[in-house]
Symmetry: C2
Subunit: 480 residues, 2 copies
């Protein structure tokens, strides 16, 4: 029988996170491997997650007065080379086009790994006066970074993202924009994806290639590794000088603009899967769920028409307020459908059979707790609203709890090493700021500096590695 309930192929999350992750990606049909190594296909359910995220983030981006635009995929090699730090950082990861229209190109073209260089070439042409500033652009696009180790969503040769780019009259205004974008990302993670995390400054070693300062949103995964989930960069005037992005100020003088760039990618969806999935598959917090409620009708031949009629009416009634779908496929059994939607993480399932109709009730099942309740139809909407609200709240709480449980305040390097060798997690430790200590810690423990929290307070401490005076506790962790 082809519609028999498929046995779940999902191993335990606690036992082996990587294996579990790959199984969820496969069984929930989120993504699949494509023929070119390191690339993947976003299958409809995986892409629907991205559309859901896009819709929310795009709204917030536009609220900041940023306008969407689209710049070319191809960047001439000479443009990429204009900012020294930038080209050094990105050249090991480039994909290069050398033939076009059957002919060898006179200059190789790089597939954008990020768009600073192509965008700012145009900014230089468009920005003339202080009246044109602030100038704020965002792009939703694909980018390519040739990675050796790849992993679905978290690290792929081609990924989807948004990149915001702004130009300002002053460094101060640019700095404010950097923090505004970071705050927007925090809101996206906390409120839609229900992923808790820490916002802070990157070290010199870990900052964006070509930038002045980088801020980041860092989230902890269940295996104690950190995910750099979104970044926002203060570019200073580095690119402005390399690309001659200048304006005439009110005082009549020609000045270089101050710039920012900030991005969030499909990598965020990897975090979502990691943080909220369980041994039954995916769980989607209601605000990101493309579908919040699925209705599964249960009937036999003689009750079929009545049940389907009632189920359709219920779908119609609910779709005004919820993202809901009636699964009326005739080729599959109710049990098969339960499984199908559980693996995909739809927050609520409604079961509707002839007896429920008689009693004016439905059965409501929560995907996160598997709690099952019988609810009077008159109270259903209110009840669903409450469950969705609770699910969203509890998902964030769970993520916060997981993070705090694995966040260690450490003053001894031996303890630091012990944690990194076992549980892993965020380690809060004093660091003197010397890149040599940072490099040695990384070599000895795999932990890198993740960030100096925005809210960090100056203290009197000693560097965890060299023992010299240190003012701040940084967050360390092994990175994805």
């Amino acid at each position: 029988m082809a519609d028999k309930i498929k046995k779940r192929q999902i191993p335990s999350k606690n036992k082996n996170l990587s294996e579990w992750y790959l199984a969820v990606v496969r069984e929930a049909e989120l993504a699949d491997y494509a023929p070119v190594r390191g690339t993947m296909v976003f299958r409809p359910w995986g892409y629907a997650l991205w559309e859901s995220l896009q819709q929310n983030l795009d709204r917030m981006i536009k609220q900041m007065g940023v306008k969407n635009a689209y710049f070319p995929l191809f960047i001439p090699m000479n443009l990429l080379e204009k900012e020294k730090g930038h080209v050094e950082g990105f050249s090991p990861e480039l994909a290069v086009v050398t033939y076009g229209g059957g002919e060898k190109l006179t200059e190789p073209l790089v597939i954008r790994p990020t768009s600073e260089t192509i965008m700012y070439t145009m900014f230089a042409k468009w920005i003339k006066s202080w009246r044109d500033l602030p100038f704020k652009i965002n792009q939703w696009s694909n980018v390519v970074r040739w990675e050796k180790r790849t992993f679905p969503f978290l690290r792929t040769a081609e990924f989807l993202w948004q990149e915001g780019h702004t130009a300002h009259v002053s460094h101060e205004e640019a700095q404010q924009q950097v923090l505004k974008a970071l705050e927007m990302y925090k809101q996206e993670f906390f409120e839609q994806l229900a992923i808790w995390g820490v916002v802070g400054w990157k070290s010199e070693t870990e900052k964006f290639a070509g930038g002045l300062k980088t801020t980041t949103f860092e989230a902890l995964m269940p295996d104690g590794k950190a995910l750099q989930a979104a970044t926002s960069h203060d570019l200073g005037q580095n690119f402005a000088k390399a690309f001659e992005v200048k304006f005439q100020d009110k005082d009549g003088k020609i000045k270089y603009v101050w710039q920012t760039s900030w991005g969030l990618s499909t990598r965020a969806l990897g975090g979502l899967i990691m943080v909220h999935g369980d041994d039954q598959g995916l769980f989607l917090p209601p605000k990101i769920a493309p579908l919040q409620i699925v209705i599964v009708p249960i009937y036999q031949d003689k009750t079929k028409s009545e049940v389907l009629k009632t189920a359709k009416a219920l779908e119609k009634e609910l779709e005004v307020e919820f993202r809901v779908e009636l699964d009326d496929r005739e080729t599959y059994s109710p049990g098969w459908k339960f499984n199908y939607w559980e693996v995909r993480g739809v927050p609520i399932r409604i079961e509707l059979g002839p007896r429920d109709i008689e009693n004016q009730e439905v059965v409501v099942v929560r995907r996160d707790t598997f709690e099952k309740e019988t609810i009077k139809q008159a109270e259903l909407k209110q009840h669903l609203k409450e469950i969705l609200k609770i699910q969203q709240k509890e998902a964030l709480e769970k993520s916060k709890k997981l993070t705090l449980e694995k966040t260690y305040t450490v003053d001894q390097y031996s303890q630091f090493k012990e944690i990194m060798a076992t549980n892993k997690g965020f380690i809060r430790a004093f660091w003197c700021g010397n890149p040599e200590c940072e490099a040695k810690i990384k070599a000895e423990t795999k932990a890198t500096t993740r960030c100096l929290p925005l809210e960090a307070k100056e203290e009197k401490g000693k560097c965890i590695y060299c023992g010299k005076p240190a003012k701040y506790r940084w967050y360390f962790a092994q990175a994805y």
Copy 2:
């Protein structure tokens, strides 16, 4: 004075359409040339048009039960070569990646010119049973076709589009899907873009490389040239056989699927500009306009606060029903703003000054006709709704009129040549179906077969070129 009204740099549309077009693209800040030949930047106003189109078309695509997904940019050369007709058609236009991550690739990667080959490689993996059919996928993405002659929007090396791909149990069902997609495009052009056109079948010469039959939406531009604005292909089983896309049918037998693909690109925006622009710049039919109404406040120092307050309240009131924006930029004069929004084609301008407030009126100016009316605030919403409706309707009528005026039913080849040498336009003429006649007509007049209309009726005629019996009048035109 920096805010002085900029002299329009737009030449007459009637005199030289190409020059006029390029000027509108530049002055309305729709697009700009990028550093790589043949590529362009979609500036915010141009990209907003695409977003507006996307929103409407995406809704219609989803209504057909099609789900969005995303496939990789890179296609291994060997995949592209699997379908012979396909690779022959596309190889002159390919961009090829030969280096990745600093190393020469063992197999060159093609940047997708269209995604049949990469998608159907995956379809073969996913589709197993008749239960999986119909299988319907759509992708919004960038594609690259290395073009020699390029023109903003209409022909660029990289462009944005959607491509729908479906697989079916039977040829009949696939054929229905081809026509459904075509009908959807017709609706998009008629109802949102207000572009009139003809739907029909392509000839064998003009069909999609690798397909069985191609249908098309053809629109006529003001210079009498035709724009192939969207196409929908019956792929038969050509790709299914090349990529082994098979399923087990209800009868237990393994069969090849029947496939369709269909696409609409940013080229449609080129048609929009051509058809609806005028000597003042762009005009946007209200349904595609990212902004339908702009409010320009007119004040002096002592009336400023009252006018701005009233204007803001008006914006707030109107934004419930319309896409409206208050242009309260202090660095520009009202006259400068009038010009700014006229060039960009916003359908309605509202002017609001102190005397208007006193009289509880506003001044409403139509962008298409430049008619100016004073309207009581109490009647404003109703009035705006009516104007927008009329503008949308009249825009389509104008496009239809332009097309019909340049549509000629011709039975003499001498007349055919005469028209093509002067006015140009759609020529309805009998053609015997012989590709040799088609090729000779093209060589002698530049006219190609655009389509055989879906609604064409069988008649008894003679081929316009060879005089042999011919059953149908085809549409001929010079193509963009």
